[in-house]
Symmetry: C2
Subunit: 301 residues, 2 copies
Amino acid sequence: MNHANTHRIPQPTLAQVIERVDTHLNAFLEQRHLPQNLDEAIRYSLLGGGKRVRPALAWYSAIACGHTGENTLHAGAAVEMIHAFSLIHDDLPALDNDDIRRGRPTLHRHAGEAMAVLAGDALLSLAYESTQEHPAPLIALKLGTELARGTRAMIEGQIYDTLGGDQVGLTDLEAVERIHRNKTGALLRASCRMGALSVGAPDEAVELLTRYSEAIGLQFQIIDDLLDVEGSSDAVGKALGKDEAAGKITYPSTIGVERSREHAAYLGDVAADALLELESLRIGDVAPLRNMGDMLTHRES
Amino acid sequence: MNHANTHRIPQPTLAQVIERVDTHLNAFLEQRHLPQNLDEAIRYSLLGGGKRVRPALAWYSAIACGHTGENTLHAGAAVEMIHAFSLIHDDLPALDNDDIRRGRPTLHRHAGEAMAVLAGDALLSLAYESTQEHPAPLIALKLGTELARGTRAMIEGQIYDTLGGDQVGLTDLEAVERIHRNKTGALLRASCRMGALSVGAPDEAVELLTRYSEAIGLQFQIIDDLLDVEGSSDAVGKALGKDEAAGKITYPSTIGVERSREHAAYLGDVAADALLELESLRIGDVAPLRNMGDMLTHRES
């Protein structure tokens, strides 16, 4: 494993990381020799213009621990596949019934509902194949455990969001926080933790990255809620006002737009503090993660 | 790890193995603390009267290698969860559109389509959690790799069966064999291999169990095809004649009932030969696997 401290050399730009991740995903799929129609459906969803937030978080978490991001590609690809699977299944008619995703037809509109179910299933299982490819067996196992934890939480979040359940005694704010922490937060958390675990980072660093990622995860989703109320459909690339139309509870519907904005800003501070503390360990460069946090906070889509 | 040679002590009956598997599945689910509605849906599908063929194959594969089956429970539970997930998703309206399974409403009829999609997803991911629980990390990793291989092949089989693809140059017989080897065979193969891997069996034994399981896997599915033509709805517990109505290619539709029966019998011989060879290694007791093979060949449902 490369223990070189990389925080004095220039870090790759986000565009370079995205390109590296996409090259890796391409190669991963080529090695699988999937049936041609399945391969096409998976590529349509997985390589169709995602922002690669999750693999970038994994990559930059490694840099924050003093390593290059190269060894995080198995983890980053895995989390990106889980993300892609969840979007495909969430878009299905029986769930959110969305026709547009990233400005294009959703997979079930493009390739039919049967393929959307099966391609989602395949991506979920392929994600575990990806973690299994990490060259160090004990790390590969840890990555799988972390992936399972994040994936289960994400599915539970979708259950709470779509079908409710276990809500007795929860306030609306507690309910919406639980949905967000599970449905979106758990996978962003897994991205950072898996990035750090991929390079054998010390426990203390993993814990600080956990705190950072939990904060930006919730912040990310509150901003998503706000964009649904305030954004423009062109910038967001999907239909707006859907949360309200679907009667879903969101931060703005629960505590209002202004307090939602304040809470998002507060979570940004929590994330920044975690990075400061990580920086004080002097093991790596936290600047790329700091920039990611800023990008997520100030995004318009 | 228990290296005791168990082939001189009485083996547990199939009913005892099933009971042990069900107790384990129950405990596994309890430890997960799933949302109540998800837990209910998963229990409905997973604990709703399956024959536990796959965990029993894992258990008996361990016995054939001279170990008790106790350490195969993580593997057996994992494969059973993959099997349950695949039935739930295959039954969906967008796929086989089945209303009855094991004599009861399918999960989407019982709990709605959204829950059926999500409970299937959860089971797929939970299966990996189960393999990760094997106490020996390197074995846990191998089990995950084997599970991923079987699961992917199964999904590819469903793609071929439902949506076709990559069929240029294949005869009907080649096409139906490919569907069966993937859709059903891959998971039975994984059951035996994972059972043997769970107890650290030697490579030679794993290979013989692979040959055995590939033979009974294809045999099992040919018999399934024959039952769809010849069985009674009560005994099979699901609608009959569906293959023909759906225009699906099957062994009987491709090479006729009589030659299908002959081929099933031939595969029984291949399986028996593999067990004889395994027996000649004198490491364990192959009798329970032999009985399983007979049970699968002579079943009426």
